[in-house]
Symmetry: C2
Subunit: 165 residues, 2 copies
Amino acid sequence: MSTTAAEIAAAWRRERPGTPTDSIEVFTPIVRLAKLLTDDRTRVLRAAGIDRATLDLLSVLRRAGPPYTLTTRELTERTLVTAGAISQRLARAEQEGLVTRAPDPSGHKAVAVTLTAAGHEVIERSVDAVLGRDSELVAGLSAEEQDLLIPLLGKLEGFVRARVG
Amino acid sequence: MSTTAAEIAAAWRRERPGTPTDSIEVFTPIVRLAKLLTDDRTRVLRAAGIDRATLDLLSVLRRAGPPYTLTTRELTERTLVTAGAISQRLARAEQEGLVTRAPDPSGHKAVAVTLTAAGHEVIERSVDAVLGRDSELVAGLSAEEQDLLIPLLGKLEGFVRARVG
DNA sequence: GTCTAAACGTTTAGACCTGAACATACCAGG
DNA sequence: CCTGGTATGTTCAGGTCTAAACGTTTAGAC
């Protein structure tokens, strides 16, 4: 049993008239959905012997296409975590032999990160499981509903992104 | 500069034809928005000398109305984190004098958690700041767009919730 | 009364992240 | 040259979470 967003907003208005509750019904389900989805993905991946942070890292490299190389800065830009977190992810992944780090000639002090054969295997083995699972979960909405939802989310993300961080 | 969800899906299809990408344009913005919003809220609250986990805890108690008391189990149900996390949050909040814990006569081994006067002050001081900020951010969508978005998110949340955890 | 199962809460180990401090490499002017 | 500034990465301290193991209390069967 869980409280709905509408109930939360109503409770604030009842307890504190004047509380600005107009955002609650939009943001509460978004934050909850994200938590449900990421926790579920963590569990799916644990069964495959990998963690979510590492999967994100390997996915970005895999999607880049051959030669599966990006600098640390590029990884940071594509990942929505801090440079410190990327550095730690890289240390773990390198330790496990999934990526290599080497000086990159271009740019200031760039480090070129490259997927190893082992890293490639890991991502091939897990990406279908993860995205297949997500496919099941998104099927709660019809294609028409998804087509309605996607542009709204895109617009909201753009607006929020311009005003934070 | 960040990759759009559509670009991510296209990259997977290009690199791995057959990859099930239909969920990406829905779930990627949801997960990103949640991260942008929670990180931003963390920063807003740090300025007020409180952390997000504690605010969530105090909010649930405050919304319950007088006498601002709930059991640990009720807090867990309303919070989407594990019982262990609630236990740790309570220990921190109790340490800071924001809540009290006492045996609850009803139920098995229930612990009654109650907001103190200090906890009440903290929540009164920060809730308008947090929800006011969220109000600014949700204004990226018109009222009509929000009315379109809310039921879609609700339907999706219900579907996902029934299939995870 | 006694026993057993279920409900409830806490502790602990292991992961991950942020933000700030720090270290290093390149570049452009003087 | 050489020197400050900018771009990059890394390290570290502090904080939070999950999941699993554990301890405790209550209710119900008999």
